[in-house]
Symmetry: C2
Subunit: 340 residues, 2 copies
DNA sequence: CTGAAAGCGCTAACAC
DNA sequence: GTGTTAGCGCTTTCAG
């Protein structure tokens, strides 16, 4: 195991003080008016021997870790995976590393995770928060840690967040179905008190109300076993044969609906029109391509990281918070084709 | 910004030496024969004030970070995302956090990333290595850092790895197609010199050779823009109308093939039978369900993390390396139905 | 059983 | 311009 060299080693080798080395390495040579000649000599040597400052020691000293904590609901969900990917790229480009974890929307797990991140002295937090986590987030903010929420926000906590216009999205999608001649439109989603889901339900309900149609909402309790969800969906479909269209609250439910439809041998859209929140490869390739509410993944990731980097780079703790709401796009495909 | 308390603070509050606190907190009370009464008092107080040792300082001192570096090809690829998810779970349960990154199979980027991880003193590495990274990996190993490779291995570097039986998988899939009556079977994949891809090509070729059939291999240079790949696939299909079956080298190519087939309006399997390496939600739901070579995701993740934790917990640096090869499962669906 | 003290490698006042 | 030095918060040896 090769002994790692420290700043002292290289200071000795060069017969220079370690302070000088430190200044040079931190780009403060000008400021400290260190001779260009020395600077070059040091830089050259450092490069030669491949010296790397120990960032742990640096962090301990400066209190900065250059790590961003990213908490998504589930990294294996393509929506979150794509966002994570984009955030990762921009973070790395700006000298930050990402520690991530999946919360499973589990409040206790998330509390633990936040505590671990804190403990690790991460510089900033990007969180898709589960329910009931308000106090922990508020505590982070109170202690001056930059936090950016996304996908959903916490109305009781004042902080930056990036979300999409969920209410309008489902409102718009529902209207589209109505215009296509569907009258018995159901909404299937996971039960959730989170803002994004509440807004989606609300948008759906508003559109129906405007047309004097009756909402039919099935909220399924989330279960990690997909088959359970599929079963719930099938039962719902069987018990509500009059339904002629379904909107799904997210991509997971959407996938389960498609599988349920396959099992039941239904024709889309003849027997059932469908629209899903979140776009997904599958939807484009499904036997009847599926109309989807596509979230602007790149824009979400971009805004999230921009806001966070911004907070990280400025000392102004109280310049107010940014709430960013992005538009979605209704990608109309065959699964919502006119009834006639 | 609440001042974090340090071990000194709590030592003072309790009128005990910080050494004692340290021992108690590290579960060495017994060993040091500290009175049960004191232990309890300390633990109670620590819990009360919510003291958390500063893990940075701890790491600096002990040289351990309790962080595992995970390098996948692309976290937004469902294969890698799923594995990452499972690894993450087990790692957290064992007190390790994960820092991850996507290599894009880019050698230079990966070198940088490894250097960053090293710098961060991660305790162990889990890597799906790109080509040309042998020296860097070897250097990690030489310095006593535990490294587990997965998905592919580096023949020139002796270390632990977990892969699947790629050669047999495509051999078997190809034979299946032959048995179903297909004679002009092509293989489409990304160009790669990595072991997993070479083995997949080899398995395909062997099966064809055994039946005196001619291999027809199209290796596409990877391009992040999916449309380019789709275009390549379409062109290939157009230029080779005699082909009656295609095997795809991975899920990405598989997705592109499906999209190309949709554009061209081909019937599966009447015009073209298909089998894809990697299983994927889409394949099950595609208008003609797609036969796939399913990798044992859980088993891969499980073996990877088990091997790594094992190395992390034992000091024996040279107990030999483990090479684990897991079986895949050929999920026969409709896209490879008999030609007749 | 407990305490003093020496660092881990780095930064940044503060001297010179 | 450069060197001295005091920590950041923790672990651990060595004495009592």
């Amino acid at each position: 195991m090769k002994k790692k060299l420290s700043i002292v080693d290289i200071a000795n080798s060069l017969n220079v003080s370690k302070t000088t080395i430190s200044f040079i390495l931190n780009g403060r040579a000008k400021e400290k008016r260190i001779s260009a000649e020395l600077v070059e000599r040091v830089l050259k040597y450092v490069d030669e021997v491949g010296y790397k400052p120990n960032s742990l020691a640096k962090s301990l000293r400066t209190g900065k870790s250059n790590i961003i904590g990213l908490m998504v609901e589930d990294i294996s969900n393509p929506f979150f995976a794509s966002i994570a990917r984009l955030i990762e790229d921009r973070a790395y480009k700006n000298g930050y590393k990402i520690i991530y974890c999946s919360t499973d929307n589990d409040t206790e797990k998330t509390k633990d995770l936040i505590s671990m991140f804190r403990d690790r002295h991460v510089d900033g937090y990007i969180i898709a928060p589960p329910e009931g986590i308000e106090d922990d987030i508020a505590s982070l903010i109170k202690d001056g840690l930059p936090v950016v929420l996304f996908d959903r926000n916490l109305p009781k906590v004042e902080t930056d967040f990036v979300v999409v216009d969920n209410l309008f999205s489902t409102y718009n999608a529902t209207r589209h179905l109505i215009e296509q001649g569907y009258k018995n439109i159901a909404l299937i989603t996971f039960h959730s008190l989170q803002t994004q889901m509440q807004a989606r339900v609300e948008g759906y309900a508003q559109a129906l109300n405007e047309h004097a149609l009756t909402p039919n909402i099935r909220e399924i309790v989330f279960n990690p076993d997909e088959n359970i969800t599929i079963q719930h969906v099938q039962t719902f479909l069987n018990d509500n044969k009059h339904i002629d269209a379904v909107i799904c609250g997210n991509n997971h439910v959407g996938m389960c609906l498609l599988k349920a439809i396959n099992h039941l041998g239904l024709q889309v859209p003849q027997n059932l029109a469908i629209i899903c929140f979140d776009d997904y490869d599958v939807f484009e390739l499904y036997s009847t391509s599926v109309t989807a509410i596509a979230q602007p993944i790149e824009a979400i990731a971009d805004n999230v990281i921009t806001v966070l980097l911004d907070k990280l780079n400025t000392t102004n703790n109280h310049s107010g918070y940014q709430s960013i709401t992005l538009k979605t796009e209704l990608k109309i495909r065959n699964s919502s084709k006119s009834k006639g």
